[in-house]
Symmetry: C2
Subunit: 201 residues, 2 copies
């Protein structure tokens, strides 16, 4: 059994949205499983003494343009979110709750729904009402969802995910670890594909 | 006549070394010319309030690994320079002197020689003796080379290149501008190739 692809993402990361759309197909072609990790980029930025790219003058203009162009390059719909970046801890806590109580597939479905909601429909996932509405769309009970993201146990689960990501060397998103090899960024797709197809290079 | 590809690089940028190896062939396939701009990343980092990637803990380990892996991905030799990053203003002044007195081809040959010296042979281009030796290898008079990089006129020429790069939105290297469209990073090669082959997307 080949090792899974560890895929770290933040619900507020446009490049994570893009990568989330291709990672399963790329993995399946080489009989790999994808193990998703919802994290908070803020935690990894802090550990690496980084700021979000949009916090830098000049770079900001570029990355906003590149987000949309990189989505078009992959043939994906993309709509710049009205508020960006947004805090995503509640969506991420729901992810871990699903992962641990219903399994990886349920968590992956939530990741897909959340990322698409943010980047194709401008859904403000940081607003409780919007998040509850998305939960309901996904067949989850909105009140139960709110109880989950307010629960210290799921807050702690997310914190552990952030800590583990930092310990694994993650400093941005999307971030992939394949057979112990780290790949940062949606644009490492060609290198990941080669690694999966023919091994270390 | 199609617009040239503007290619901004720093002699101390590993990803610039890699991009410099493919940019001419990619341009030639679509009848484009490459117009090189030697710049100092320090100037663009300052304007964008950025630090070099290796200045960040955690990220440093990753990028050092990715430099070498990205070179292997392109089938290029790569040897991590013993000192990194290095100040490259003297090499860049020689570039502009060659560009303006002998033309783009002579400057491109110097760019190739300098980048390969740093990243395949560990030549410390920031040391005057090493730079003079490289100049001699390239058929330039070492004393004349030193006179050039000490000359206020060529210092000013490089400063103008940095200022123009910042004004054009450049905040890192390699950086490409094609038909007014900015592309940052060696890893934007697939997007640049598509743009050149079939136009805006």
């Amino acid at each position: 059994m080949k090792a899974p692809i560890d895929f770290f993402f933040d619900f507020s990361s446009p490049y994570s949205y893009i990568a989330n759309e291709w990672v399963d197909a790329v993995a399946a072609r080489t009989s790999r499983r994808v193990r998703r990790h919802a994290i908070l980029l803020g935690a990894t930025f802090q550990a690496a003494e980084l700021k979000p790219p949009v916090a830098h003058p000049i770079k900001r203009e570029y990355v906003l343009r590149d987000f949309a162009r990189s989505a078009r390059f992959e043939g994906l719909p993309y709509q710049p979110p009205p508020v960006f970046p947004i805090p995503t801890q509640n969506a991420a806590r729901l992810f871990w709750w699903l992962a641990e109580t219903r399994g990886d597939e349920a968590a992956a479905a939530w990741a897909l729904a959340g990322l698409r909601a943010v980047f194709t429909r401008g859904v403000p996932l940081h607003e409780p009402d919007a998040l509850k509405a998305l939960a309901a769309e996904q067949g989850l009970d909105p009140a139960a969802a709110e109880a989950v993201w307010s629960d210290v146990a799921w807050k702690a689960r997310l914190k552990r995910a952030n800590d583990e990501a930092v310990a694994a060397g993650v400093f941005g998103a999307p971030f992939f670890i394949v057979d112990g090899e780290p790949f940062w960024g949606n644009d490492r797709r060609p290198q990941i594909e080669r690694w999966l197809a023919s091994g270390p290079f």
